[in-house]
Amino acid sequence: MLPITRPTDIATASIVDLVGNTPLVRLRSVEARAGTGAEIWAKCEFANPGGSVKDRAARKMILDALADGRLAPGKTLIDSTSGNTGVAYSMIGAALGVPVTLVMPANVSAARKNITAAYGTEVIFSSELEGSDGAIRLVRQIVAETPEKWFFPDQYGNPSNPGAHYEGTGPEIVRQTGGRVTHFVTGIGTTGTLMGTGRFLKGHDPKIRVTAMQPDDALHGLEGLKHLPSSIVPAIWHPEGIVDDTIWMPTDEGWDMSEHLVHEEGLFVGHSSGGNVAAALRVAKQAGPGAVVVTVLCDRGDRYFAPLSWDRKQIY
């Protein structure tokens, strides 16, 4: 397929049109750490209008549902999210006139609670002890009680989520590297970025190596990412024929890379981005000269570095 090149001086009717077509930035200081001559590049997904990679999936899930009638006037969008998808739903919902309700663990950062509230979104809190799986179970329960009221995109099971990356992120990477990409590595949460981008890249050139990064332990600090052996496995996760390798990432290695990126590259990104670049560094060390390793900077760091707090009385 031929990707569409969008001019950077675009004027458009809606913020919804501004999702995707993010810049690709080279990480020379990380290449220097690898010392193998491999190139390392990162997709600046924080440049999406809602501030994260989740804008892509949210837009396509909503537009596809509007197109086929799953989402219609009178219905409210509801889903579970640890934050970024919630911001994306809220932004696109506000722009398109779709009311949004979110189920979040009570310990999501105050910054993201405040952002979603600013859009007018209703938030229901699940237990802070049960993480994103607790939010998944709660949203399923709410939808089961009054199914007619809701449009439940179910980002963990909706093919439009990886579809957004198959149509967007993948072709953009091929175009932006001039077709030179040899490796793609990213962490998995819903697994949508890896599934969609990986499927496109494998179709483009089966020799491109696709690596999944997962936290190395159930108890970890790479927010937004899933340790699949101990999690509800997303229904869109079909690694067969797409994922060649898995890197098990210690929290400290990802956090250290986040600090490196802000100090040495001026990239103030979240911990999942740090984990992604740390994984790209490992891939680059193995790959050697001529390799063009691409990863993803999922969001900015300013959504995280605030003291955590919650109000127990708000928990559903």
């Binding site: 002890l129 993480g131 332990d217 899933k226 340790h227 997303p234 929290t251 955590l308």
Partner: protein, 100 residues
């Protein structure tokens, strides 16, 4: 005794229990007693230097102990201590099958 609320990824160490009553007048003493009752759990919460791992937040009632006296924060008999990991998913018990 103070009650310690256990996050899902650590409940395999507490036989699935969500709350464990522990003796102690500080968070540190409470965690020591928790480790006596459920050996190995303290090493998951604290690093080799003895401090709380930086991606784990410990709350005395609803206050982050980093903004109190950390592990030396005093706790009373009716207090509740919560061990809260980052938002991440992940648990070691009762893994459900995929959604569909």
């Amino acid at each position: 005794m103070p009650n310690v609320r256990i996050p899902t990824p650590l409940r395999k160490l507490t036989e699935g229990k969500e709350e464990v009553a522990c003796a102690g007048a500080t968070v540190r003493a409470v965690f020591d007693d928790l480790d006596r009752q459920h050996p190995g759990i303290k090493a998951r919460i604290c690093d080799d230097a003895g401090g709380v791992r930086k991606f784990i937040n410990v709350f005395a009632n609803e206050e982050d102990i980093r903004f109190l006296q950390n592990l030396d924060t005093p706790v009373g008999d009716k207090d509740e201590i919560s061990i809260v990991p980052a938002i991440a998913g992940g648990r070691d018990v009762d893994v459900e099958p995929a959604a569909r």
